[in-house]
């Protein structure tokens, strides 16, 4: 932040200076320009430059510590002053008059904004000069649900409910089996050919259904045991898991 840093000054010296300080060199220039008490458009730039340089000189004499940009501005103004005073150099671009005009424009811009700010602050401000209603009822926006459901949703839901309500009936699918009765009958009939030891499995019907074959094997084995009990056949098995063989008794 550019600002003047003042060391303690004696009262008589302070007469020359605004103790409040300035917000930068442009601010100081504007204050000095205002001191000319003419419209900024009519301001004498040369006079202004003199005033500024004089101020900087005073500050230096008083050993005031000036921020760098004040000194930069002083150097530039000193340059501008010499250009304005020296015989014109038509080659110089921009011309010293042009530079002076730009400085004047800048001062006018800042001045305009300063004034505009003051006018804004003085306007009829809400909550200070004009007041809204202090206790309004307020407006409310309420969300209202519009429920969506299709006829399909409804029927599907009921269908599933009904499906859920059906009493559970456990149906066992039909499976081809050889009953024990069938097996006894079949093995009994086939015993006529079993004059020698013959594998029980040879008695089984030909089938490509492995489940049916298992059923036939189990039933035929039981049938063989039953027929053996009746004394109608003999059974032998040489060792565990070996072939079961039968022969007519």
């Amino acid at each position: 932040m550019s600002e003047l840093l003042f060391q303690p000054v004696r009262d008589e010296d302070a007469l020359h200076l605004d103790i409040d300080g300035w917000e930068g060199p442009l601010d100081l220039l504007l204050s000095l320009a205002r001191g000319q008490k003419v419209d900024l458009a009519q301001i004498s730039i040369l006079e202004l430059v003199e005033q500024y340089l004089g101020f900087i000189e005073d500050a230096t004499a008083l050993k005031l510590e000036l921020a760098a940009d004040y000194l930069v501005m002083a150097a530039w103004l000193a340059y501008l002053k010499s250009c304005l005073l020296l015989p014109k150099d038509p080659e110089q671009d921009p011309s010293p008059e042009e530079l002076a005009l730009r400085l004047q424009q800048r001062l006018m811009r800042l001045d305009a904004m300063r004034e505009a700010g003051a006018r804004l602050l003085a306007s009829d401000r809400l909550g200070r000069d004009v007041f809204p209603r202090a206790a309004p009822e307020g407006l409310r926006t309420e969300r209202k649900a519009v429920w969506r459901a299709s006829a399909y949703d409804l029927y599907a839901a009921y269908g599933q409910l009904r499906a859920r309500m059906q009493p559970a009936v456990h149906m066992v699918h039909d499976r081809r089996v050889m009953t024990l009765e069938d097996a006894i009958h079949r093995v009994g009939q086939m015993l006529g050919i079993a004059v020698e030891w013959i594998a029980l499995e040879a008695f089984l019907p030909v089938t490509s259904d492995p489940a049916y074959r298992k059923s036939c094997l189990a039933s035929s084995f039981l049938a063989a045991l039953e027929l053996a009990r009746q004394g109608r056949l003999d059974i032998e098995q040489e060792e565990a898991f070996d072939e079961v063989r039968v022969k007519a008794a």
Partner: protein, 194 residues
């Protein structure tokens, strides 16, 4: 318009609470506050704003017959939850039906919100009480229900055979099974259907 009446009007407007005649006088200074109040009350008589006196205090308020304007409804489409859809279906097929009967059919309790939603949607209404112990309330569908689902009358609801033919009586899918297992946590939360 009289300057004094203007001042009374402004003071009443800017106040955050009803004001007595004395309160007003403290702001506006000398003058006939009562007469000003009467003039204002008459002026606002048939407007959108009215000046009212309540317990010796005066304030402006929105005209009471326009209160409905201060609330604006914005419609938001929301999908009916599964629980609500099933409940609606049971009511449609079995009406009049009590809550206990609905629960017996669904196999789970229904939350209060479920029936509220159906009534809010305008599809279900309460019917007569059943003349059995406890005199339970029954529920039935409305004309709005028929309109929404494109039915002339309840007789147009597809029968069990129709549902079966449409494959809607097929064994439970996993979702339905899940629903059954969850059973009691039948809470109709807002988010569920969002």
């Amino acid at each position: 318009m009289n300057e004094f009446v203007r001042a009374v009007e402004a003071v009443l407007f800017a106040s955050d609470e009803p004001l007595t005649v004395e309160d007003i006088a403290a702001h506006v200074g000398d003058g006939d506050v009562k007469a000003a109040l009467e003039e204002l009350a008459a002026h606002y008589d048939a407007r959108g704003i009215e000046l009212v006196e309540r317990g010796k205090r005066w304030h402006f308020q929105t005209a009471s017959d326009l209160a409905h304007l201060l609330r604006r409804e914005r419609e938001e489409p929301r999908r009916l939850s599964r629980a609500a859809t099933e409940t609606l279906a049971i009511i449609a097929y079995h009406e009049p039906v009590s809550r206990a009967e609905i629960e017996a059919i669904r196999g789970v309790q229904i939350s209060k919100g479920t029936l509220d939603v159906l009534m809010e949607a305008g599809w279900v209404r309460t019917g007569a009480r059943r003349e059995t112990p406890g005199r339970p309330l029954t529920y039935a569908t409305t004309r709005g229900f028929l309109t929404h689902f494109g039915l002339e009358s309840r007789r147009d609801l597809p029968g069990i055979d129709d549902l079966k033919a449409a494959g809607l009586l097929d064994p439970l899918d996993d979702d339905a099974l899940q629903l059954q297992l969850e059973g009691d946590d039948e809470v109709e939360t807002e988010d569920e259907d969002a």
